[in-house]
Amino acid sequence: MRAECSEAQAAWRLVLPSGPLRGRQGERLGASTGVSLEFMDYRDYLPGDDLRHVDWRSYARTDQLKVRLFREEVAPTLEILADLSPSMVLQPGKAQAIRDLLGALAEWSRRAAGHPRFYALGGIRFDDADTVVFDQAPADDLFPRARLRPRSLRVVVSDFLFPGDPAPFLRRLAHGASHLYVLQILHAEELTPAPAGLVTLRDCESFEQIEIQLGEAAVRSYQQRLARLRGAVENGTRSVGGSYCMVHAAAPRVMFRSDLMAQGIVEPA
């Protein structure tokens, strides 16, 4: 991770969901019983239970031996599902922004004693966001081919610039996850293309091309369709109880403060 991003992400941390989490032993309260100090429930004494956990006051009142149960402390697994298609790096600014974002997510996970894992949408796991190559060919199924861990936190980082309803895909991603974060990252040129007159537009992934009079009217029409796409992604995310955020590809500080914090994805550390 480059220095600018490292400095920027240090001021923030990922906002974890309020519900109980799953995972290995860590510092966050999990959904099961464990050895934290947080009281959770009672149960009848069984031979062999730790006598320190017997609720003696309750026994004085009821003459029944009860054992206190405490919440477990877990370290949540963060699965970062990254879109590695060429569209993610069409603009140099966007390519740098996504690498910063992936690196920051991984660092936030580590600081929370979590274990971040990177998966490519439609692909397999990868280890290093700084060196991964964005050359994933378009696939019919964007779901990662590696097995995702149940009850993990999942963060999807993509521009979602592919045709079709994203809701079924998002439901599949949210299935088995303790929470789903959807970060749709777009570059300024993708949000507001500059009028260019009579041009041939070629898709950077499918290499299809069309001829178009890219004037003001065409740009407005494009923005309307983009807004509908964004709406579909957001609605699909909320329908599975996840968190959605539109990230403008920019410098790390700007992305974290203006976009992620504004949408409640991160909070000051």
């Binding site: 993708e190 260019a196 007159g197 992934e205 001829e211």
Partner: protein, 613 residues
């Protein structure tokens, strides 16, 4: 509207070519995007399965089509007759000397009246012509003469006419105008104007407008002048030279008085040696034969100034006779038998010199002679052996040869030996050759004389001095130098180069009164045409080697009574035909301007598209 070159309309075939280029290959600027499906709704419709781009109606397409249309119109000579009245005028000038005749301008005191010549009036008429011609008109200027020539053009800007005729000095002798007039007709296109400017009535082709600016005037002139080069011998008198001059007058009066003055010398140092007042009647030729002491100075003859000055002045240079040097190395007895010394005295400008010095004719025996130069004509008297014949005729002579001129050989007994002789036979008797001429490369010819000088009686007959005289004159013509120094306008100025100058390829040119140097034509005998009166000098590598004096003597040109003034329009309405050959210039320029504008706009449009604006 018209098309002067309808074939140019074939260029309209470029229009479908432009369309096809736009149809089949329209390379738009390419832009990569990440979500093409979001632009799909605004894509320009494409036909399924097509291989070519849709024809896009772009400004560039329209500009290129317009440019192709403009080029087609330009090539086809499109014209709507926009204010184009330019003309092409072919002007033929009469270059004869009578155009120099001057007449007093009417009005004012006679003594102070300005005199204008025909040439001046021609210049005024041409200035009027230029002033009246529409802007952009063209002209071709020709000069009559024995060889018609073009002074300006063809189709030069008409404003150059005045400058061209400023230095014009007519001075040709009488000649036919038809070659110049026909040359003008060849150059003229339908609709062009043809004008002939002269000073008297001339039959011209019907297309010509004939303008005469002459005036009938009385005139006196020298019609012939000759300075006798032969030595005039008189007992007890110094050598003298003869002058023969003929005067005449052309006038409507019964007689006219003039004064002949003869001066000796050059420039301001001339001295008058003769003056006489003469009364000349119209058409009468008055000869004068005068005698003056022999001198090396030129004689300057002049009459009183009148209408035509060029025939009032004659300058005669002293003749420089070419002396032929005769030598022999034969024994004195034979020389006396031949009478060579007497012949040298009798024949004009012949000197008998010792054989050792350079000579032009060497009469010798067979043995080689050291003094024989390349230019020496050697007459070899061949020795006759024991076998000889005495021939009395008939003799067969090569009559066409100049050496045989005047020979008869009647009564000649030709004692000759036997045997072959080199060269071309000139005299034969039977089968025996008696005289031959051997031509040699780069050297003078040799004559071989098969003659027993002791037995023949040739030297006692008139044929011997005739033969020697023919030889002397033939050799004299080959001597280097001018052939004749006093010439007339139109004659050939001839100069023979020495053999050394020919070998060294000397730079020889003629400098005339107009100070224009002209290279001589020829290898050994150089010639120039005497175009104008006055002194002409021949220079070789900058060094003066000969001087000639050219006079104007032409009775026809001196007769100014035939001169007249008139302006005769062309017959048959020439000059008013539609000016197809000169129309369309304005349209062509407009089309070219529009084409340039199209190209600039197309460049701007394509540039903007390239910058994505």
């Amino acid at each position: 509207m018209e098309f002067t070159t309808p074939l140019g309309l074939l260029a309209l075939l470029s229009l479908p070519v432009v369309l096809a280029l736009h149809f089949f290959r329209r390379k738009l600027r390419e832009q990569r995007v990440s979500g093409l499906f979001l632009f799909q709704k605004d894509a320009l419709p494409a036909d399924a399965g097509r291989q070519r781009s849709r024809l896009l109606q772009t400004p560039s397409l329209y500009l290129e089509l317009l440019a192709a249309l403009l080029v087609s119109l330009w090539l086809s000579g499109f014209s709507v007759g926009l204010s184009d009245h330019r003309t092409h005028v072919i002007v033929v000038l009469d270059d004869s000397a009578s155009m120099q005749a001057t007449a007093a301008v009417a009005g004012g005191e006679q003594a102070t009246r300005k005199r204008v010549s025909g040439a001046d009036l021609v210049r005024q008429r041409l200035a009027d012509l230029v002033a009246q011609a529409p802007s952009g008109s063209r002209c071709t200027l020709m000069l009559s003469g024995r060889r018609a020539r073009v002074l300006l053009g063809p189709r030069a800007p008409i404003h150059l006419l005045a400058d061209t005729v400023r230095g014009w000095r007519p001075g040709s002798p009488e000649h036919d105008f038809l070659p110049a007039l026909e040359l003008g007709l060849e150059v003229a296109a339908p609709g062009d104007d043809l004008v002939f400017l002269t000073d008297h009535a001339v039959d011209t082709p019907t297309r010509y407008r004939c303008i005469a600016v002459g005036q009938s005037l009385p005139n006196c002139g020298i019609v012939a002048a000759n300075r006798n080069l032969a030595e005039a011998k008189g007992a007890g008198q110094d050598d003298r030279e003869k002058l023969e001059v003929v005067l005449s007058a052309w006038t409507d009066e019964p007689a006219v008085t003039t004064r002949l003055t003869i001066r000796l010398g050059t420039g301001s140092r001339q001295t008058q040696i003769f003056q006489r007042d003469l009364e000349l009647r119209h058409g009468e030729l008055v000869p004068l034969a005068l005698s003056f002491p022999k001198t090396s100075q030129p004689w300057n003859l002049s009459l009183v100034a009148d209408a035509l000055a060029v025939d009032n002045v004659v300058r005669l240079l002293p003749g420089r006779p070419k002396q032929v040097l005769l030598a022999t190395d034969l024994d004195q007895r034979l020389v006396a038998r031949m009478g060579l010394a007497r012949l040298a005295r009798v024949l004009p400008h012949v000197a008998l010199v010792p054989a050792a010095s350079g000579c032009d004719i060497l009469i010798s025996g067979v043995a080689a002679v050291a003094s024989e130069g390349q230019d020496t004509v050697r007459v070899i008297v061949r020795p006759v052996g024991d076998e000889r014949d005495d021939w009395i005729g008939p003799f067969l002579m090569e009559r066409r040869h100049p050496l045989m001129s005047g020979l008869s050989l009647d009564g000649v007994v030709f004692s000759a030996g036997r045997g072959a002789m080199p060269g071309l036979p000139l005299i034969l008797a039977g089968e025996q050759v008696l005289l031959t001429e051997e031509q040699r490369a780069d050297a003078a010819p040799r004559l071989h004389l098969n003659l027993d000088a002791g037995r023949t009686n040739l030297f006692d007959t008139p044929d011997w001095p005739i033969l020697v005289s023919n030889l002397v004159e033939r050799v004299r013509k080959t001597l280097p130098g001018p052939r004749q120094v006093n010439l007339r306008v139109g004659d050939e100025i001839l100069y023979r180069l020495p053999r050394t100058a020919m070998a060294q390829s000397a730079d020889v040119h003629l400098l005339g009164p107009d100070a224009v140097a002209r290279i001589g034509h020829g290898r050994s005998l150089l010639s120039w045409e005497a175009r104008e009166p006055g002194e002409h000098r021949v220079l070789s590598d900058g060094k003066l080697i000969a001087t000639y004096s050219v006079q104007f003597v032409d009775a026809h040109e001196s007769d100014l009574r035939r001169c007249a003034s008139f302006d005769r329009a062309p017959q048959g309405g020439g000059g008013e035909v539609a000016r197809a050959s000169t129309s369309g210039y304005l349209e062509a320029r407009v089309l070219a301007l529009l084409l340039l504008l199209c190209m600039v706009l197309n460049w701007i449009v394509l540039g903007r598209r390239g910058r994505g604006r």
